[in-house]
Symmetry: C2
Subunit: 561 residues, 2 copies
Amino acid sequence: MKRYALGLDYGTNSVRSLLVDLADGTEVGSMVFNYPSGEMGILLDEKDPHVARQNPQDYLDGLVAATRGALAQAAEKLPDFDPSQVVGIGVDTTGSTPIPVDHRGTPLGLKPEFRGVLAAQVWLWKDHTAHAEAAEITARASEMRPHYLAKCGGTYSSEWFWSKILRIRRTAPEVFAAAHSFVEHCDWIPAVLTGTTDPAVMSRSICAAGHKAFFNIEWGGLPDAEFLSALDPALAELRDRLYVDARTADRPAGTLTAEWGALLGLPEGIVVATGAFDVHMGAVAAGISEGTLVKVLGTSTCDVMVVDASRPLPDIPGLCGVVHGSILPGYYGLEAGQSAVGDIFLWFVNHLVPESYGHTMAEKFVGLEAEMATLRPGQSGLLALDWNNGNRSILVDVRLTGLLLGQTLHTTAGEMYRALIEATAFGALTIIKRLEEYGVHVNEVVNTGGLAIKNAALMQIYADVLGRPMKVAQSEQTCALGAAMFGAVAAGAFTSLPEAQRVICRTRDVVYHPNAEAHAVYAELYTLYRTLHDAFGSATWSGQLASVMKNLLVLRERVTA
Amino acid sequence: MKRYALGLDYGTNSVRSLLVDLADGTEVGSMVFNYPSGEMGILLDEKDPHVARQNPQDYLDGLVAATRGALAQAAEKLPDFDPSQVVGIGVDTTGSTPIPVDHRGTPLGLKPEFRGVLAAQVWLWKDHTAHAEAAEITARASEMRPHYLAKCGGTYSSEWFWSKILRIRRTAPEVFAAAHSFVEHCDWIPAVLTGTTDPAVMSRSICAAGHKAFFNIEWGGLPDAEFLSALDPALAELRDRLYVDARTADRPAGTLTAEWGALLGLPEGIVVATGAFDVHMGAVAAGISEGTLVKVLGTSTCDVMVVDASRPLPDIPGLCGVVHGSILPGYYGLEAGQSAVGDIFLWFVNHLVPESYGHTMAEKFVGLEAEMATLRPGQSGLLALDWNNGNRSILVDVRLTGLLLGQTLHTTAGEMYRALIEATAFGALTIIKRLEEYGVHVNEVVNTGGLAIKNAALMQIYADVLGRPMKVAQSEQTCALGAAMFGAVAAGAFTSLPEAQRVICRTRDVVYHPNAEAHAVYAELYTLYRTLHDAFGSATWSGQLASVMKNLLVLRERVTA
C-alpha cells in the first residue's frame, strides 16, 4: 500500500508544498503559493529600510492553497492516489521569525485591533530593526553569560528572537503588553494544524530555540531570569509564558484536526511533526550524516554538519550555532555560513556589467560565464574578499566590506565575476578548514540550493578550490522534501531519519571532480586570500602585504606562459 | 611691429602647430596633423603588444602640413599678418623616442633598405619591448653606478634611451650595425629645420639627455664607457658617436634653412630653439616657477617643479627624474608622476559601467558625474588605490595593481567612479607630501591637460583632497605654447623665459577652492589610503589593517547622519 508524506516549506516570499512517495522519494505533487501581502509578501516601512514583517494570514491562506494544489496534482498524475495515503506532515520555515500571540496562541496581527500595526505582525528573519538591541544583548551576555555566546558564534544577531522581542518592548510597548507570548513561525504552523496553539502546550522546535533563543538544556533551557531582567524585567516575566521544553522535529506536534483536515482536503488524525528551520530540514534531505557537509548555496550560504553528541565537542569559534538535536536527534547540529554568495553576483550584474555582455540580467550572466570559461585559475591576476555583506563564518563580523585587488587597465567584468566566485569558494574553504582544525572532519560535500543546481561553472570552481568532489542533492526542493521526511518519521513510517534518508535521498549523477592542476594554483591563491582575510579581518594579525600584488602577477605570468 | 613665434608639439598620435602673438600670448593659428602611418600613427606588431614604433616620414609630413595650416589660419584672421613676423620656432616631442640614424643624421627608417623593418623605425616612448634590458640596466647601475639611479627615481625604465638601444643591439643587430648614431625625436626636428642633422653637430636637449640617457655634467655627461661596456662593449663604442654636450631649450639649435623655409612658407634664417619634451615645455607655458607645482593631467600625469640650482638639492626618493636645466635654465627640473589617471577612468567606463548611465562613453561619463555630484566625501564607504598601471611616484614600481575596498551589496558604479577619482587625488597628495618632506615647498598648484580643462568635478575633488586652490592654465595647448615661448626666447624676443611668462602665461578665472569640511573628511580618508599605500607598496611596512574597513563604515555613518 502506497504511503505519502507532505512537506510544507515556508520561505521568505512564498510557501511550497511537496508530496512525497515514501517508497522511493518520488515527488508526486507540489505547489508554490506567493504571499499576497506587502511587497512580494513582505510588509515594509518606507521610513526604515530595516523593517521586514509578514502577515500571518498569508501563512494560513498558503497552507490551504499549497496543500490542496499538491494533492490535486498527485490525484491528476496518479489515478490510485487517495488523501488517506498521506501519513505525515512536516513543516519548515525561515527563522528566527517570531510572532506576538494572545493567550490562545492567536497572532495579534490577525486581530482587528492590530490590523495595520507593523509591530504586531510577524517579525521576518531578515528584519534588522533590532540591531541596537542585539548589540546590547551581546554586551550583556559577554559580561554575565559568556557561555551563551560560545554556542552562537560569539555575537547575538539582530535577526534573532530576543533582539526582536526586546525591540518590541522598547518601541511598541502596547504590542508587548498585548502579547501573552511569542512563538516562532515554525512552531505556530504545526500548532495550528494540530489544534495546539495554546502557548502552554505548543510543541517547540529545539532548532529554533537553540539557534535563536539561547535555549540549551545544559543551562536549564531559556536564558535565566536574572540575565533577562538585566536586559528588561519584563523579559524575565515573559520567560514564564514561553516554554521549558523544546523538541527535535522527528517528534509529533500532534495530529491533524478535523477542522483543518476539511480545509486541506485531508483526513483528520494525520501526524504532524514538530517544526524546524528550512536549512536544517533541507540538510537532512540532502543526506547529512556525520562527516558529510551540506552546503545550501543561495543568495547567502548555510554550511551544516552533524556530530555525534555522545562525544564532547569543543567550542568552535566562528560557527553561527551549535545545537543538540537541531538537525538529527542525538547529534549536535553545527551551522556556519557565508553572509553573501549569490547576492554578490546579483549585485555585480545589476551594477557593474555593461550591455556588451547581454541585455537582460540572465543574458549578462550567460555572457560573463562565456568569458569566464576562457580563463584559467590565476590568469586574471585578481583576488577578492567576499565580504560585501560582512563575514558570518569564521569572523562573525558584520562590519566588514568587499575588497578587490589586482586590477589593471585591461581587467574585464568577466574576470571580476570569476574573481568574485573564487572569493566565495575561498570563503567556503575557510569554513571547512576551521571545522577540521577542531576535529570535525569533512569526508563528503553535498550541495543544494539554486546555485548548486544551476551554476555548473561555479560548482567546478568550488571543486577546484576545495580540492574535493562536489556532489549535488537530487531534489530541487530539499527543504520541502526534508519537511516531508520529518513528517514521515514522526508518523512512524520510518524508524529513524537515517532510515528515511536511505530510501529517499539521492545525489545527482553529475559530480564535479577537482582538477589537480587548477587545485594547485588555487592552493597558492588561497594562501594570498587567507593573508588578506586575516589582515583585514583579524585584530590580532600583524604582518606584511607588499608581496601580494607581485605574487599575483608572477602567478598570472606563469599560468599564461 | 608685430612678432610671432611658432610652437610645434609632436604628440603620440599627431603633431600640433601653434602660432603665438608675442605681445600678449594670443594664439592666432593652429593646426593638428594626424600621423597617417600604422594605427593612429603607431606601427604595431601583432605578435608583441609591447611594440610601438613610428614612421619618421610622418614627422616631416606633419611639419609641413601643421606649419602651413597655422600660417594660413593666421593670414585669414589677421589681414596684416606676414610670415616674416615669425621670429622663432620651438619644438617639443614625446620621449624617450630615439631614432637610429646614419652618419648624416638620416633616420634608417627613411632609407629604402629599411622600409618595413620595425626595429629601424622610431622607437616611440611607449614601446615596452625593452623591459628585460631595462631591468638589466637597473641591476648593473645599482651595482656599479648607484648615483645614476638616484637621479631617475631608482629604476631605469623600458621606455628610456639605453634600454631601447640595447634592445636593438640584442634583437636587431643589423639595424644596430647600420646605425651610425641614435638621436631623440626632439633633437632631430630642430636639426632638420636648421640643416644640422649631422650627429656630430646636432644640438642635443638636456631635457632628453638628462631624464632618459643618464646624462649629467657632474659625472662627465653620458654614462662612462666602463659602465656601458659592462652592458655591451658595442654601447661603449657607440658612446663616441653620440654627444658630449647637451643644452637647455632656450638656446638656438640653428636657423631655418632656405630649403625648409620654402617648404613651410617661412623666410630662411628664423631662429629654431633646441628641442625638449612636451611636458617640460608645457610646464613653462603653465607658468612654472620656484614653488609652483605644474600638474599635467591626462591619461597619466606629470608633476613638475623647478628648484634653484645654486642651492644643493638632496636626492628625493620616488621622483622620476631630477635634471639641471631640463625645464628652466639655472634650475633643477623635478619630475614626478602617476602612471595612470585618465586611463583608469577610461578603463572603468569601458569595462564596468552599464548602459543605465548612458549609451556612449561620453554619456556614461555624464551619468557617472551626475550621480557623483550627489555624494559627499566618505559617503560611499569606498577606498581605492590608483595603481592599475603600477605606481610611478613615489613607489617607482610597475609591479603594483589596483585595489578597491569597502564594497557592499548596494555599491554603485557612480560611487566607484568617485572613489577612483579620489584615489588619484590621494596619489597626487602623496607626491606633494614627498616633495615637501625634502624641503621643496609647494605654494601654488597650476593644472593643465585635458582633465584639468574638462572635468570640473575632478578638479574640485583635487582641491578638497589636496587642501589647496587648484588653478588651471589658460591655454588649451600649453605644450605647443611652451614650444613657441622657447622659440621666442632663443630668438631673443624676450630676455628670459620668466620674462616671456609674464607676458604670455595666464591662469583661468575659475579657481577651485578647497571646501574645509570636505578637506577634513578627506584628511581622514587619506590616512587610510596611506595605510593601504604603504602596506601594499612598501616591503618595509609592517602593521595592522583590521580597522580600515570599520573606520570607513564609521566615517560613512558620520557623514550621512
